[in-house]
Symmetry: C3
Subunit: 174 residues, 3 copies
Amino acid sequence: MHQLNHGISFILGGARSGKSSFAEGLITASGLELVYVATGRAWDEEMSVRIDLHKAQRGSSWHTIEEPLDLVDTLQGVAADGKAILVDCLTLWLTNLMMAERDITAETRQLVQALPKLQGSIVLVSNEVGLGIVPENRMARDFRDHAGRLHQAVAQAAATVYFVAAGLPLTMKG
Amino acid sequence: MHQLNHGISFILGGARSGKSSFAEGLITASGLELVYVATGRAWDEEMSVRIDLHKAQRGSSWHTIEEPLDLVDTLQGVAADGKAILVDCLTLWLTNLMMAERDITAETRQLVQALPKLQGSIVLVSNEVGLGIVPENRMARDFRDHAGRLHQAVAQAAATVYFVAAGLPLTMKG
Amino acid sequence: MHQLNHGISFILGGARSGKSSFAEGLITASGLELVYVATGRAWDEEMSVRIDLHKAQRGSSWHTIEEPLDLVDTLQGVAADGKAILVDCLTLWLTNLMMAERDITAETRQLVQALPKLQGSIVLVSNEVGLGIVPENRMARDFRDHAGRLHQAVAQAAATVYFVAAGLPLTMKG
């Protein structure tokens, strides 16, 4: 069985790969105080249904914070010894930053610099999006580049990195 | 060398990853009676050429069954001790179910429930499709979701799970 | 730490996965004479910016050769004991071959046949593009097929194969 470490864990996987469930299992088994930081924003009904379904599946032992943009402030405010925080997910946060026309390079650098100083256990979940054909759409290519660079930086800051496919974790680091 | 196990093996990989060849090699080396369940349907000439090429590469030691939709019945009818069955592939089966407007949740649940009861060795091959940019097309997103959920459930039912890239298998389970 | 082997190494990864940086680190640490074979062609400004950025990041200890098409001749001309050659990347080479309407099957077969005879250390980098939804565009599907087949053949010829995600290498072979 995989165990939650103190410090940063990073869980990367595809769409419907079971990465969030794996992250939740890891954190729930830790016996720590559970905090869920949801970065998803309900842009449309499809998304809204997904978010509600996810919340229901998670159950009531979690304290949930919804924060689409100011992730660094949120983490700095809530991270503490004895707590396990799940951030689900970095790719939705990136999407929100792009939609809000924030400075992505600055914001992601701020996150990466803040991570090593946070107390407790932090689990960051993200979608790998760079293993398909080059998208025709420029914005999608930019997004893919931002996500890839962020994943490299977060993986470097993390003590443990998992790649999840078909619900199965593969340890990439740690 | 990897060896075929009794029970369920699941082989996941990308397009042209060599997943089918790896599956065929695994099964051929088993010395069991070989059954090939082809779920592919020739919708157009491109597909038809692929299917014929695949059949020619496989050779004549296989008994081939073409079944685009009723996979569970087919498996229950043919699975037996001493037989090795290759299902190629689950993503084409899902595509056919969607085209035929079948109830995908019900059909995939039926498959997953049937798997543990089948005799002999069963190897299921499928395409990982969730590691690119979110598709703009709603049907493609739904397909991706169905495939991801099915892969998680099949991986859970399987004794052995491989991820294949560039023709090389990575053991995810077993 | 991973070490550069004599012979062929193959590094596969997604967009912005850190595959080129990993390849450069591997080669730089070898102490061999460094040769960089860039297959990228600046079709537009976006690409041109990427190429220049990459060159600046690499530094001045490399001898750089730009060769969009005749990769086999270039490798045969430059490969030698005591040299480490980085080819970045095979997918751009394939793109150039398609644009130039070359015979891809013949050209890729020629590369694969030439690889075992080359002296020194050769590191080939390529993009995995087959793990997303089937592209709607026929040319993209053909490209994906060519890339997948080439990756299988190169992986077979290679002594070492890595899959890189989030900057972290996973040894697939060797």
